[in-house]
């Protein structure tokens, strides 16, 4: 089982480094480039959703991405510790969750008392089992 856990302050500027960390992690797994793009796209939507909806204008918490890869399956969790805040800004976020649904094989959204977690499952078809282990 390979694993990646990244946590950052929840602001827009931090989404890119989290995406880059996920992309680098996926490159260690022998996943093809199109699949990598799609998984990063889905995770990017979940991260953007967390940043736009978890925290109010004066409230900033953390957003975390946790990815776990087995031989045939990848699970990516994006979690925040905020409470859902409806924002009036113009946004394509309604499409964001549609995009996540279209890419991931399974999606679970858990609005708990301590925040929201979006769990995405992806089937992996790799050329060969990876021997890499990433902390």
């Amino acid at each position: 089982m390979s694993e990646l856990r990244v946590s950052r302050k929840a602001n827009g500027e931090n989404v890119r480094p989290i995406r880059q960390a996920l992309r680098a992690f996926l490159h260690t797994l022998d996943v093809d480039d199109t699949k990598i793009d799609d998984i990063v796209t889905a995770a990017g939507e979940a991260l953007a959703n967390a940043i736009e909806h978890a925290y109010g204008p004066t409230q900033r918490g953390e957003v975390e991405l946790h990815a776990r890869a087995g031989p045939l399956r990848l699970t990516v969790d994006v979690s925040d510790t905020g409470r859902f805040v409806e924002r009036s800004r113009r946004s394509g976020r309604g499409y964001g969750l549609r995009i996540v649904d279209a890419i991931a094989d399974e999606v679970e959204i858990d609005h708990g008392s301590h925040g929201t977690r979006i769990r995405m499952g992806f089937a992996l078809s790799r050329q060969s089992p990876s021997l890499h282990a990433v902390e």
Binding site: V15, T41, A48, G92
Partner: protein, 107 residues
């Protein structure tokens, strides 16, 4: 038949994500008097759904002003983003600059 010099080009590059939402929206909703606009996203390397709201604003403004538009996209990631959102037919998208310009200059 218009010549290509009457086409205004709006170009955005790099990663268009949630951190650039306001900038992208401002660029795509800025008023212009051009009759034809090429939205050149050929240098965009990644986009999230932030760009979708801006594309709708761009299209709506062009419809109000009776402007002809074309959107040039080269990134497969951005093409698939729009497909996953079910929006592959929502905008006049072109993968080749020459085809985008032909669309704009034809009557």
């Amino acid at each position: 038949m218009m010549d290509q010099s009457s086409v205004q080009i709006i170009a955005l590059a790099g990663e268009l994500d949630v951190s650039r939402g306001d900038e992208v929206m401002e660029r795509l909703s800025a008023p212009t008097t051009a009759k034809s606009i090429l939205l050149d996203l050929s240098e965009v390397t990644y986009a999230d759904s932030t760009v979708i709201a801006a594309l709708f604003a761009f299209r709506e403004q062009a419809e109000r002003e009776r402007q002809r538009i074309a959107v040039l996209i080269e990134s497969p990631q951005l093409v698939r983003l729009l497909q996953y959102a079910g929006l592959q037919e929502a905008f006049p998208i072109f993968l080749e600059r020459s085809e985008a310009l032909s669309h704009l200059v034809s009557t």
